[in-house]
């Protein structure tokens, strides 16, 4: 898995609350058997018109946001399904960071599995970032932010600076690009000991 230490990127503001996993990646696109190629289906029903052409009214289709890698959203981002296709689609599209006041639990965990950093920030700070993004766009350019996972700070070039919190284990795994399964298999003796100490209910024929 790719490691994540620092990241600088264009911020794409998605000013909607409760963005659910059916919007992030509609179910008809869950039929692939590979992990890749989901970016083309990200926010499919919002990004594209019925005839397949880009929807000019969808925020993320604005030219100034081309190449955006930091998604800014409102509360309860990623609610709904456990489908990891949601972070796969976001990552494949180019996002490495999602900033929101709150996230749904399963989506939040799924991000870490894919080298993506979900950042919980207070509602007022998120509101301030939406303001700055709008102001930057009005002035003609995209809005950029810097994320430093070593110091856990979020900054921009206009004086915004906030700390964020990350579970220390998740932080370490991202910083070092650690494979979760490989790490867990280091504890295989403890797993075997637990199994030996517990009655394994006989099951299948």
């Amino acid at each position: 898995m790719h490691s994540f230490t620092t990241h600088t990127g264009i911020v794409a503001p998605l000013d909607r609350a409760n963005v659910d996993t059916d919007q992030i990646i509609p179910k008809q696109f869950l039929k692939r058997i590979e992990r890749t190629g989901f970016g083309q289906f990200l926010f499919f029903d919002w990004r594209f018109l019925p005839d397949g052409s880009p929807n000019p009214d969808f925020e993320l289709n604005r030219k100034v946001l081309a190449g955006a890698s930091v998604l800014l959203a409102r509360r309860n981002f990623g609610c709904g399904s456990s489908r990891e296709h949601a972070p796969w689609a976001l990552a494949d599209y180019g996002f490495r960071v999602v900033i929101a006041p709150t996230f749904a639990d399963i989506f939040f965990n799924n991000c870490f599995q894919n080298g993506m950093l979900p950042i919980r920030l207070g509602e007022e700070d998120v509101e301030e970032l939406f303001r700055r993004a709008r102001a930057a766009e009005a002035a003609g350019g995209p809005y950029r932010m810097h994320v430093d996972l070593r110091s856990c700070t979020l900054t921009d070039d206009a004086g915004f600076s906030r700390p964020f919190t990350v579970d220390p284990f998740r932080q370490r795994c991202l910083l070092e690009g650690l494979d979760d399964i490989g790490l867990s298999l280091r504890h295989v003796d403890a797993i075997a000991a637990w199994e030996a100490a517990h009655e394994m209910t006989p099951t299948t024929r």
Binding site: N110, I191, T204
Partner: protein
């Protein structure tokens, strides 16, 4: 004296394998349920890393999301669906996993067959790459949905990295009025909590209203815990649980010893929850969602809300969006809303008691000419039992389609979908935009309410129904 512990505490403590310094704890997973949508990449990951499944005998698979609910002797028309189902079959064969495949008498929706076969048992940790895994908590298990990477982790290690969630007690005192079902109860709770009210928590449902629910009703409640943001929902096991499980295929051979152990699971008196919310059953009327998330719900005797009436700005905005998508105007009585389709099915409400309840409503009536209605039993077993009881005949004579088991129209990954603009009374669990088909308009209701709407052609208060 050790501190009193909740059901969650007891199950958690019993399953921690190790808590190494600086790492999230590893918890052991007793049962891993698998379906065809979220597993292909996990098996491929195992294959690429040269790993095997650590405990194939603790792993159970069935295809449910993609399967057609019509004649299954015919080949699957959608090549991509077929590929996913074939891939599951090949993976189960390669890794030695028990598969309840198409054509197997016990195939069905994974969260229906788990309890039905006695795979789900009290005190267990159970995971599946599906958010409605919460269903199994009804039997007093800690059960929750996981993503595909975690599916791979469980296949390889039979464990999961988890921080212990917080606990939320939802106590429902009093009793439910006639005509008010478990589905109405959980929709009401979600409406009160919001779609993120339970985030970060595991819900334990307590109180006399909950105790009085039968096992299938408890599954309906726990199933929708995720819609309030809680990964898992549980109901402590009791005699109803033990009676449900006795004699099922995969329960322990020494059942009485198992019961003796399970009886120790309910929370100790005085055990503390991180948060407690208390409700009264008498406050609940039959529910109908009006919007595009399960918390946008009102009683059937109410009106569609006016988006401008919400106090929170973001609720006003999402309310307005929802009303536009759903083609509804604030102030419209719910009972005035006509429907085009009725879907009775899904892991929420497709068990035998759900079908009996709907059949009782439909008996002696016919589906309205403007409505296309279908019933999809949750499993082969449910279907066969319904046919033994003559329930399928009641539905067919009334003009419902009677289908084979699968997730069907809950989410349009198989041929059962809504066309744009079609309005559906559905016994499923999510009404997100496009969930049942692009442009489709989903209203979540109980099986009896869906059946009544099929007959009248619009939402109808089941409490005033004339049974024939």
């Amino acid at each position: 004296m050790p501190a009193p512990r909740t059901l969650l505490d007891k199950i958690w403590d019993a399953h921690v394998v190790c808590s190494p310094a600086g790492e999230l704890p590893l918890i052991y997973i007793d049962r891993h349920l698998v379906h065809e949508v979220t597993s292909p990449q996990a098996f491929e990951g195992l294959r690429l890393a040269g790993r095997r499944v650590r405990r194939p005998e603790a792993t159970f698979a069935t295809p449910d999301h993609n399967v057609p609910t019509t004649d299954r002797r015919l080949p699957i028309a959608d090549p991509v669906s077929k590929q996913q189902i074939d891939t599951l079959r090949a993976n189960c064969r390669e890794f030695g996993i028990r598969l309840y495949d198409l054509g197997d008498a016990d195939q069905g929706i994974v969260h229906v067959i788990g309890p039905e076969l006695g795979i789900t048992q009290p005190g267990m940790t159970i995971v599946c790459g599906d958010s409605h895994t919460a269903t199994h908590g009804a039997l007093g298990a800690l059960a929750f949905g996981i993503g595909t990477s975690e599916v791979e982790h469980v296949l390889a290690t039979q464990t999961l990295r988890q921080a212990k969630p917080k606990s939320l007690e939802l106590r429902v005192d009093g009793s439910l009025h006639p005509g008010v079902t478990a589905k109405d109860l959980v929709l009401y709770l979600i409406g009160r909590l919001s779609t993120e009210g339970g985030t970060g928590h595991v819900i334990e449902y307590t109180g006399p209203c909950i105790r009085r629910l039968g096992m299938e009703e408890r599954m309906t409640v726990c199933n929708m815990s995720i819609e309030a943001g809680a990964r898992a929902g549980m109901i402590a096991p009791d005699q109803i649980t033990f009676d449900y499980l006795r004699g099922r295929d995969l329960v322990p051979r020494d059942f009485d010893s198992a019961v003796a152990a399970w009886e120790k699971l309910p929370g100790d008196p005085g055990a503390a929850f991180d948060r407690v919310e208390i409700f009264r059953g008498e406050e609940i009327v039959p529910q109908v969602t009006w919007g595009t998330n399960p918390a946008q719900v009102v009683g059937v005797d109410a009106v569609v809300p006016d988006a401008g009436g919400f106090t929170d700005a973001s609720d006003r905005e999402s309310g307005a969006r929802a009303l536009e998508y759903m083609g509804l105007k604030g102030g419209t009585p719910i009972v005035d809303i006509p429907i085009d389709r009725v879907f009775i099915g899904s892991c929420t409400n497709s068990r035998i008691e759900d079908l009996r309840a709907a059949a009782r409503v439909v008996q002696g009536y016919r589906v309205a000419p403007s409505v296309h209605a279908m019933v999809v039993p949750g499993s082969g077993r449910v279907k066969r039992q319904a046919e033994q009881e003559g329930i399928d005949r009641v539905f067919r004579e009334a003009g419902f389609e009677w289908r084979e088991a699968g997730c069907s129209m809950c989410l349009g990954m198989n041929p059962d979908t809504l066309s744009p603009g079609q309005r559906c009374a559905s016994t499923s669990n999510r009404n997100f935009e496009g969930r049942q088909g692009k442009g489709g308009r989903t209203h979540l209701v109980s099986p009896a309410m869906a059946a009544a709407a099929a007959v009248t052609g619009h939402f109808t208060d089941i409490r005033q129904w004339t049974y024939r």
